[in-house]
Assembly symmetry: C2
Homo-oligomer: 362 residues x 2
Amino acid sequence: MQFNIIRTDSNARACLFETQRGQVKTPAFLPVGTLGTVKAMAPEELEDMGAEMILCNTYHLYLRPGHEVISSLGGIHRFMNWDRPILSDSGGFQVFSLSALRKIEENGVHFKSHLDGSMHFIGPREAMDIQSALGSDIAMVLDDCPPYPSSYEYAQESLKRTTRWALQCKQLKHQEQALFGIIQGSLFQDLRKRSAEEIIDIGFDGYAAGGLSVGEPKEEMHEMIYVTAPLLPHDKPRYLMGIGDLKDVMLGVEAGFDMFDCVMPTRNARNGTLFTSKGKISIKREEFKADRGPLDPECGCYTCKKYSRGYLRHIFLSKEILSMRLNTIHNLYFYLHFFKDMRESIKEGTFHSFKKKWEAIL
Amino acid sequence: MQFNIIRTDSNARACLFETQRGQVKTPAFLPVGTLGTVKAMAPEELEDMGAEMILCNTYHLYLRPGHEVISSLGGIHRFMNWDRPILSDSGGFQVFSLSALRKIEENGVHFKSHLDGSMHFIGPREAMDIQSALGSDIAMVLDDCPPYPSSYEYAQESLKRTTRWALQCKQLKHQEQALFGIIQGSLFQDLRKRSAEEIIDIGFDGYAAGGLSVGEPKEEMHEMIYVTAPLLPHDKPRYLMGIGDLKDVMLGVEAGFDMFDCVMPTRNARNGTLFTSKGKISIKREEFKADRGPLDPECGCYTCKKYSRGYLRHIFLSKEILSMRLNTIHNLYFYLHFFKDMRESIKEGTFHSFKKKWEAIL
């Protein structure tokens, strides 16, 4: 994986990385394809709107349909008809956030499926095996993601485990797959620093900040974003996991992060909350009933070119599948173009005014 | 509306009719766009698979979002981004089948909305006004659709009302809209004959057989199809309303009907029942779990070209929106190509063997 910094604007970076399946320009937003489909979208629609990489969830795909099934169906790319890069998470976050019961041991986690209550085990070996079977382009190490709030003692324990697991994952790394390390340490600056040192010491193709956006106050999240970014190597991609609120994203970019993923644009779309150049709107509002105008006159997406607000309101209230499609197309287009414009602003050295403008709108 | 019979094969007909919004080749299948969207589809997808006309439901659109709203949004075509022909039903069938409470009077029907229990009234004038506001290319007269079973006396009453309403609809016909009459008469041959005579006497742009597929035994439905078709003018389109089981469709075509609509392909798709060149299959079956093959190797649709049975099973079981999309694309493509092939067989004088072949498969 080749990684080049094209231009910086203060700490914000416009980079390019080359994978075996194509280029990814950063700052990059990765739409989330939890179960092997970005909800409501066909892969060609994602390509058309400029998505260059997506994320799939190891935990979900391990439970359904199972990594062996995906492997026997030709791997995750062929399985889901997407031939651009895919990043798989390690399953760690979902094991810690979704499964009802979990027991952490030194060599991994026992957990109960949120689907049928069956018991499972994922350790560094399993996480690497599953991701290898999926055939993602970028794999993530298995990490121990402490909840908010966590005591210093627990965060320290968890950090140590994360480092041990990262080392084991590195030893099991597959040649054809890039592997990113994950920095933990909860909201403790010194633990973040120690985690970064230990993980960088092992050496990975990229580095992620994990354990944020787990319920902590925004100010604390922002502080950790600013603390963690400069700890990470300059010459590798930096990934701020699970952060997708665009104000937070801009802070992340300002701090020096390159990659972001979040269900926000897709989930909001299905709930009728849509992003526009004037801010968020709820499409169900009465005022849109007979509104002939497009959702966002400044948007060039299929939804805005072809449908009125009145129609979008009607199909949303009628719970039509097309509503989820059109809303998702719009929100993802908005996000991807927001990232594109943000990159341009970095290349032009105007990121600061880009950020200021959007902070007033969002 | 120009209507030309291109070729007949016994009583089966291959016709062409020209509307202001384009050609429709028959036998024609009209996908159902109940609320102003063919469920799970974007209009361009329907065009790509060769749909030439769709049906919208007056009853549903009257209740949501209301015909005045659609009118103020530029009419049904612009509303839903479909510029090919649209046929609107009159609302009669849904008033009789969906609404909880109804009171039939000489000048129309009082009924209770199935959505919120509010009271409404539709008579011939209202049915014509609503369809005019929608701006459909073909409107249907308001008919009284008797349930199954109905007594001879009730069927006769209902027939008389249907004729009176048809006359009133004719008097209110809008120049820019074609208007089709509807033959009722329940399962009584003499009443079907009388209804046809009275409706033809009024004179319409096309003729439909209504009141079938309402719960009667298949043999009785088939008998009525054979009885009704020859009663209808040779030089006008003949529409067999609400019939979409392909065996019934072939009987209808054999009898001389030209147009068909049904929710079967779209509804079945959402339930995971898929049509193939070897018969119907349920995609959720365990045997498809790791099946790399396409749904139907003989099918040229997007779903069959791009996805494996294993993937289709996985996203169906995971209740993903893409599952409803891919299944619907496949089933509608199957239907539209079935109709296309049926038309070819009529043009080549081989409809009988087409029918025989498919009766063995279906």
